[in-house]
Amino acid sequence: MKLLYTVYYKLQSRCEIALRTKHSKQDLYKFYTLPDEVRSAIFELGGITRVFNEQTQIFNESSILIRNCMLELVGYLKSMTNFDRPSPRFVLYGEHGVGKSMALVYALQYAHENNYLLVHIPWVLRWFAYPKEVSHSLTKEGMVDLNIDAAMWLRHFQKQNTKWLEDPRLTTSQEYVWSPREKSEANIPLAALIEHGITRVKYASDVVDVLFTEIKKLSTEGVCRTFVCVDGYNSFFAEKTNCKPEDKSKVLPSRVTLTRSVINLVQSDWNNGAIVLALSPRANLPDRRESHLPLYMLKKAGFESIDPFVPIHVPELNDEEFHNLLNLYESKKWLQTSEGREEIAFLTKRVPQKMYEFCSFK
């Protein structure tokens, strides 16, 4: 049986098709390489997990396993024909380390190839767990701004959509007043609006809010097709954050301006786009990680904010995927024996991240 699997790997474990659009059921359970130009274009400022970054450094290659959930998600996106309807919501859920973020990487790459405007939030918990600067909002009373984080995200957005931001059709619809002295006039390009947010960090949170409403408007008008992607969406509904403003008052995620703008973006009051959200037990507080099911993680408020949605479960690896992955590790010298596969399967529950960690000291 062992021999059979190694032969299988050598024969057909590589997928040479470059475009995500052309992947089919025949390419299931194979590895494809993430090209360096795509990596630098989309994921330079976030989006790729720590473990995968480490792997690419050690293996000298970035290979991704094509899984059923990825093809399912991309299949839904492909089958969308009527763009006058509200944008559909897809929710990826599964246990920690099972490959939800890699599925998002796959979907983002598909969207990039098909000329979507990308609105990608790499890891929501970073805003609430490690906030750079917390200040009171000037425009919204009782709210809190995370301006440096917002400006950093604007740079990420700018980097991902360099081609789209050169388009002259992407302009603002109305005049925005930031302060008595500063204002942005109507019909200026979105690139100028983003540049304003990055240079005047004081208004970055407000710029993000304005940007989302403008993108919704532009998408509905049919100027651009938008792909919204949020990793760790459930941390918007946690009971606690590390944000401490000057008056030391308690800050829930609902009191942060970024939360309100993202939840507003995820609503289905706009057309011509798609929304993909990933839920993770790791995005919850440590005392709330028992289950990976959507209702438990989002609680009632969060569930109602995105209801209805298409759930996509990301399961543990099946037999073929499991052996293919271990064969890859063997060929890269990460695992140095071909014995004990049953033991690995039992101890790691076939969760890929755990498998990587387990093989690291064997």
């Binding site: 050690i58 293996f59 000298n60 010298k333 990460w334 024996t337 004990g340 033991e343 690291s360 000291f361």
Partner: protein
């Protein structure tokens, strides 16, 4: 002075369990007890050689908590973890050791990928446990110094050392030297580099061993004090 080498029964040598032989004074089992045979391969070998009747009436010690029949069982690893442990915090010690192994693997694989010729590639050892074994073999001392008082003067007397104690000493040296580092460097990364150096027969631990040997050589005139 030569100490006669201990001869273990054949069945015990199979398991590589001989390094776990407990000290006589603290042993709770008498000498008639044999070490446990817990690996499937050893049991299969005994059955295949028809030696099972030799074990029918022999009392056997219970295995310790870390002796398992796992395919990845390695006695040296378990010993290293125990020597590294502080205040019974085995979980942390194990985690640190696992990071060390990972770090060794990482350094070696990156070296392997960077190598240009086949000869260079073959010379790199990729298995971290082979590296650890080699490092221990290269840094084991053959003698030790003991202070002995003769006529109101203490002398540093060189005496021979048992295999088990030599093993313990060199592992302790590894841990001691790995702790001596700037605060921004991780202990596990430092230990990994020291082990790789030791496998190559160079580095601080090998130097420590040669220093000890040199001092023993200098004190050879006192060697007879050991006998009284």
């Amino acid at each position: 002075m030569l100490i006669p080498k201990l001869v273990y029964p054949q069945a015990l040598l199979f398991t590589r369990a001989s390094i776990f032989k407990t000290a006589v004074r603290s042993a709770s089992f008498g000498p008639q007890f044999i070490d446990p045979i817990f690996k499937h391969e050893d049991i299969d070998r005994i059955i295949a050689n028809n030696e099972l009747k030799n074990y029918t009436d022999v009392p056997v010690k219970p295995p310790t908590s870390f002796q398992t029949c796992s395919t990845f069982y390695n006695p040296v690893k378990e010993k290293f973890i125990n020597y590294m442990m502080k205040k019974g915090n085995k979980e942390l010690a194990r985690e640190v050791f696992e990071y060390t192994v990972k770090s060794i693997k990482r350094i070696q694989i990156e070296k392997y990928n960077k190598a240009t010729s086949d000869e260079e590639r073959e010379s790199i050892i990729l298995d971290p446990y082979v590296i650890i074994d080699k490092a221990i073999e290269n840094t084991k001392p053959i003698l030790k110094l003991r202070s002995i008082k003769r006529a109101a003067v203490t002398y540093q007397v060189p005496i021979p050392i048992s295999d088990k104690e030599a093993r313990f000493k060199c592992m302790k040296w590894h841990i001691e030297i790995a702790k001596d580092k700037p605060s921004e460097v991780r202990f596990s990364d430092n230990l990994a580099q020291i082990l790789i150096d030791g496998a190559d027969n160079k580095g601080k631990v090998v130097k420590k061993k040669t220093d000890l040997h040199r001092q023993c050589e200098a004190n050879r005139a006192y060697a007879h004090y050991y006998f009284g």
